[in-house]
């Protein structure tokens, strides 16, 4: 099984490390051709404006939408969550528009308000340590989206079929259980079980 990490900008090596801790192979993805032999894709944290611009520039918008149409799982963390969303609060144009949800950028405030906390995530036994950095949150989701965790009544993890999104950074800790969860999604999609 091969999982790509979109490597235009952001915390790429951290995700590759978490993927390998969870027992799969992670590779950085800089060109659309590389998507062909991947089973799943992670869109990492970074600056969503930068990542979105570079995705448009190099043809990733269409290529990743096609990747998703094949039912191949995609996991977005922080900036990656923003990139996946159908709607961004405010006037900003959305990017991939794959997940039926509205997100707010920098929803918890500036860097001084960034924090870490223990978070209960549906489908994972014990709470995970979640690091929120200038994090977005999910304001509302469509009926086809399952909420996996909330923090102070705000949605911070969600899943829509083969798509997974988290406001925080599971790649910044040694706890790889959310990556494990994603890898199980990829396994299921490979064997045709959703």
């Amino acid at each position: 099984m091969k999982i790509g990490v979109l490597a235009l900008q952001g915390a790429v090596t951290e995700h590759i490390r978490s993927i390998s801790l969870a027992g799969a192979d992670g590779v950085p993805v800089k060109r659309v051709e590389q998507l062909e032999d991947l089973d799943g894709l992670i869109i990492p944290g970074g600056e969503s404006t930068t990542i979105g611009k570079l995705m448009r520039k190099y043809g990733f918008m269409e290529a990743i939408r096609q990747f998703s149409e094949q039912g191949k799982p995609i996991f977005g963390t922080c900036a990656g969550l923003i990139v996946l969303a159908e709607r961004i609060d405010g006037h900003e144009e959305a990017h991939l528009k794959l997940m039926n949800m509205t997100v707010a950028r920098n929803a918890f405030g500036r860097q001084r308000e960034s924090f870490e906390t223990d978070l209960v995530v549906k489908g994972i036994d014990e709470p995970i340590r979640a690091v929120f950095i200038r994090a977005p949150l999910i304001m509302e989701v469509g009926s086809d989206v399952e909420v996996l965790s909330t923090y102070k009544d705000e949605i911070v993890t969600a899943r829509q079929g083969h798509l997974l999104a988290a406001s925080f950074h599971p790649e910044l800790t040694d706890d790889f259980r959310l990556h494990q969860y994603f890898i199980e999604m990829v396994e299921a999609s490979r064997t045709g079980v959703q």
Binding site: A11, K30, E47, L54, R112
Partner: protein, 293 residues
């Protein structure tokens, strides 16, 4: 729930990786930088080359400029405080700046002590010429390191020297025995624990960017090739003929630093980059990299 932890502060720098952080002097430049794909902007009153030209004492920017920039962009905003100037740093933190740079570009306020950076919720980036400086700053609480280079010169040679030196010192430390590490910690004037973490991981415990003299897309790509996690571009962008095009070209060259055809493409018709200064023409007093210890 905890704010200002080492993970949160260092993590913020991880999110900047592969990116370009641009110096801006007003809201208009900040918007150009954001539109070009900058991952953060550094709000300043003057870029380093203007500080050189103006002479005198360089201090933290007028808070009006910092606030103006924070208002118009959604990407993180950084600002510089003088080395050792605790109060300038606290003032900038109170404005809500996302990252502080305790910077040799400004005139140092203290010739002995750097700021105790653990005492802040907001993370710090600091300059370093070698592994000793880098680990001393990290020991004081810095969450991100950048090469000092020689700011405002448009000459990459010093940034290259610093990046190469830090990386070769890391390789040397990696191969040391435990007893050698104790002696090396003393020689470098750094904490044994930090040195041990470098010995074990083969890298600094925080992100290491390149700064000080990057003037072209190829310069940015060179620093990435040498192992930088990302780049700061100071005077290079807004001292060039076409800042917008220049900024976009540097962003692309940083992402695709191994794609030489692409770098050639984005380097076409960029106009004249900043003029640049030969390092040997600087008097010792003009060398910003020698500020701090």
């Amino acid at each position: 729930m905890e704010t200002g932890t080492a993970t949160v502060k260092r993590g913020m720098a991880e999110m900047q990786k592969g990116g370009v952080i641009m110096d801006v002097m007003n809201a208009e430049q900040a918007k150009i930088a954001e539109a070009a794909g900058a991952t953060a902007v550094m709000a300043l009153e003057r870029v380093p080359s203007d500080i050189r030209a103006a002479g005198g004492v360089a201090r933290m920017a007028d808070p009006t400029i910092v606030e103006e920039v924070m208002k118009v962009v959604s990407i993180p905003v950084m600002a510089k405080a003088r080395i050792g100037h605790y109060v300038e740093a606290k003032v900038l933190e109170s404005l809500g700046v996302d990252y502080l740079d305790e910077s040799e570009v400004l005139t140092p306020a203290d010739e002995v002590f750097h700021i105790d950076k653990w005492d802040f919720t907001v993370p710090f980036v600091c300059g370093a010429k070698d592994i000793g400086e880098a680990l001393r700053r990290i020991g004081e609480g810095a969450s991100m390191i950048r090469t000092k280079g020689e700011p405002g010169t448009g000459n990459i040679v010093e940034a290259v020297r610093h990046m190469r030196l830090i990386n070769s010192q890391i390789r040397k430390v990696q191969n040391m025995s435990k007893d050698e590490l104790y002696a090396e910690a003393k020689n470098l004037g750094v904490s044994y624990d930090l040195l041990k973490s470098v010995h074990e991981s083969g890298k600094l415990p925080v992100v290491n960017f390149a700064a000080g003299g990057i003037a072209t897309p190829a310069d940015a790509a060179l620093m990435m090739h040498l192992g930088a996690d990302g780049v700061f571009v100071g005077s290079g962008i807004f001292k060039s003929d076409n800042p917008e095009k220049f900024a976009r070209a540097i962003v692309e060259a940083t992402t695709h630093y191994e794609d030489y055809k692409l770098i050639a493409e984005v380097s076409k018709n960029l106009g004249t980059p900043m003029k640049g200064i030969e390092i040997s023409k600087l008097s010792p007093a003009e060398r910003m990299q020698d500020r701090g210890w």
